[in-house]
């Protein structure tokens, strides 16, 4: 009897659908995400600081489910559109700042790069509508010629 019960419980668990995460948390209409530095078109050299600005919303840790708060994601050279049905990807071009960081030091190879900020909710999903910054373009110069 008890085995049947156990089996039924196991079956019920297995049949649970992929447990849909709550997604598409709403964000205030006037929320604004932007770069403090660098500015669009700026030329930078070697390692440089990127500072994130956010207006009318708060920055919190990933996992903290507060209203009108989220955490930063920095997209480097990403061309794919942002999918609001999926968590923001985690890889070398989607940098996460789940500890509530509002700046980072970036090192990029010389050349032209794009940067864009996306705010994620507690579970790394974009908000609805997405809170994203303008996509800016920067030029990383060759490192200074030092005795080479």
């Amino acid at each position: 009897m008890q085995i049947i019960r156990g089996a039924a419980l196991a079956a019920a668990l297995a049949l649970l659908p992929g447990v849909a995460y709550p997604q598409g948390k709403t964000a205030p209409k006037d929320a604004k995400l932007y770069f403090i530095t660098p500015r669009d078109g700026q030329k930078v050299r070697g390692g440089f600081w990127v500072r994130f600005g956010l207006r009318n919303m708060g920055v919190t840790h990933a996992g903290d489910d507060y209203q009108n708060a989220g955490h930063h994601h920095l997209l480097v050279d990403v061309n794919d559109p942002i999918d609001s049905k999926e968590p923001i990807p985690q890889d070398k071009s989607h940098l996460h700042f789940g500890a509530g960081q509002t700046e980072t030091q970036l090192e990029l190879p010389p050349g032209t790069h794009t940067l864009q900020l996306v705010l994620g909710d507690a579970k790394h999903y974009p908000f609805e509508p997405p809170v994203i910054s303008e996509k800016i373009t920067i030029r990383v110069r060759q490192p200074a010629e030092r005795g080479r």
Partner: protein
């Protein structure tokens, strides 16, 4: 330096102490046929013809091809010298691998297998022979080599470790006959197959032990079900309400059977000590049949860690890893939920039992390892980053563990050749690497013990975890089913915030011996 001995021939006198004696530094290969006298006894002429053919078709051309010189052939072996240790070892590997092919179709007792020893030393070269300590040491190393294997001395190893792309297993310092100082010996692991073969034997023993353990547990459950008074069943039924989600399987009965053994019928009491004889369970004092992750023992060894494919993987550096065990699969939902049921892990996971646990932070992973160690009284922990990469490479130095080209069925990733999925595949859905480990690359990202740093500049070479910095982020390995194939490479690495959970992050455990 009067210690120069003759090589194998009893009647040579010491060469005259002449100033112009042709001494030189050389890499010396000594090869010798295993069980030569048995082969000769069985078929003297046939064996002789075959040996001569191998020497003519394989050994001599290989030596020439690698810019070496054949010094002499003895009845059952040969000696060759090389200017370059790298060429000497390459030549040895070529000879051994060709012999494997030649032997494949033959019955076991008529195979001709060579042992090969390689040493670097100062030798005296004469037209038809060479002399010196270096030759003797090479002979001794050859003597301890297993048939079909290449053993090298520490001197050779130091020269080639960054240059010849294969695994090296340290066999420690060996005392060799008539040589005062012990000689450090390494076994060369030229290809993935060779590693798998040695593992096979150990795996058979493990499977046998596992079978015994399962049998014992099964018989315990059977006893419990048959010999249980019906009153106890009600008591049992109440138990799942304490931890409803975490114990969906019929796992609890044996647990109770063991801990509450004294009360019920004497027959049950008699059955409860039975788990003890199973050797794998002996060290665990509480008889709780905890679901331990399946572990695979990894022999220590040395390898080139890192790659030049990404700035974070530079510089490539030599690392020596001590023996350890590592989970055959990433930790599963079922395993994780036992920790959650014990209130030692932060949350109860949904999902299939044999899916890898995901959405765990580094801190979560550490909590699980600490709980498992405490519950089993075994030193479970997270692997170090070096251990992870060593295990992931499985003795190979190719781009992926299976070679340089992407192949379907090997790893779970976005463009690895199988259908993209919403969820990670259940553990073990893809082929194991030469060490028998599944999902070392792709599947779920896996936390390791080390703090995240952007390069290997200053990394330790002893296989230990590199901790101690600003540890607000830790290292992730493997890449996930959502990443592309670049992330599946065994050298790929990334960092992530220590306390943040993300849906593709999981882990596997390691165990110190």
């Amino acid at each position: 330096m009067g210690e120069i001995r003759n090589f194998r021939s009893g009647n040579h006198d010491e060469p005259p102490p002449h100033g112009s004696m042709p001494r030189r530094l050389a890499a010396i290969i000594v090869g010798d046929i295993a069980s030569y006298s048995r082969l000769m006894q069985a078929d003297e002429e046939g064996t002789h013809v075959r040996v001569k053919r191998i020497e003519r078709d394989l050994i001599q051309p290989s030596i020439v091809e690698h810019h070496g010189a054949l010094v002499k052939t003895t009845g059952d072996g040969f000696i060759a010298i090389f200017d370059s240790p790298v060429e000497a070892v390459r030549c040895s590997i070529v000879i051994q691998q060709n012999l494997v092919g030649r032997n494949a179709t033959l019955p076991k007792d008529s195979r001709i297998e060579y042992r090969i020893g390689v040493n670097l030393g100062d030798v005296i070269v004469e037209p038809d022979d060479i002399y010196g300590d270096g030759v003797n040491i090479a002979t001794r190393i050859e003597g301890i080599a297993e048939p079909g294997q290449v053993y090298i001395s520490g001197a050779i190893y130091e020269q080639i470790k960054h240059k010849v792309v294969c695994g090296y297993e340290s066999l420690g310092d060996r005392k060799v006959k008539n040589i005062t100082d012990p000689v450090r010996v390494y076994r060369v692991l030229p290809d993935a197959d060779a590693v798998a073969r040695t593992r096979g034997r150990r795996e058979n023993i493990l499977i046998f032990l596992l079978g015994v353990t399962l049998l014992v547990i099964a018989s315990g459950v059977l006893w419990y079900l048959l010999a249980q008074p019906s009153g106890r069943v009600n008591e049992q039924a109440a138990a799942p309400t304490v931890a409803p989600v975490a114990s969906p399987s019929p796992q609890p009965p044996p647990r109770d059977a063991a801990t509450q053994a004294p009360q019920p019928s004497p027959s049950l009491a008699a059955s409860s000590p039975s788990p003890a004889p199973a050797p794998s369970q002996a060290p665990s004092p509480s008889a709780t049949p905890l679901r331990e992750p399946e572990m695979i023992a990894i022999r220590g060894g040395s390898f080139a860690m890192g790659s030049n494919d990404d700035p974070t993987e530079r510089p490539v550096h030599q690392v020596t890893v001590k023996p350890f065990s590592v989970g055959k699969y990433p930790v599963t939902v079922k395993e994780w939920n036992e920790c959650a049921a014990a209130k030692a892990c932060g949350f109860t996971a949904n999902g299939k039992d044999d899916a890898p646990i995901t959405n765990v932070s580094w801190t979560d992973a550490k909590q699980y390892a600490a709980w498992l160690a405490q519950a089993t009284k075994k030193p479970y922990r997270l692997p170090s980053e070096a251990e992870w990469e060593y295990a992931a490479r499985g003795g190979t130095q190719t781009k992926y563990w299976w070679g340089d080209k992407l192949q379907p069925g090997m790893a779970g990733c976005k463009d690895c050749g199988d259908l993209a999925a919403e969820q990670p595949a259940k553990v073990g859905s893809f082929k194991p690497n030469p060490f028998g480990l599944h999902d070392m690359g792709g599947g779920v990202d896996q936390w390791v013990e080390d703090c995240w740093r952007r390069t290997y500049q200053g990394a330790p070479g002893d296989g230990s975890a590199w901790t101690g910095a600003d540890c607000s982020s830790h290292v992730l390995r493997s890449g996930s089913w959502k990443n592309d194939s670049r992330y599946v490479r065994p050298s790929n690495r990334d960092g992530y915030d220590t306390n943040v959970r993300y849906p593709t992050h999981g882990f596997r455990v390691a165990l110190s011996p």
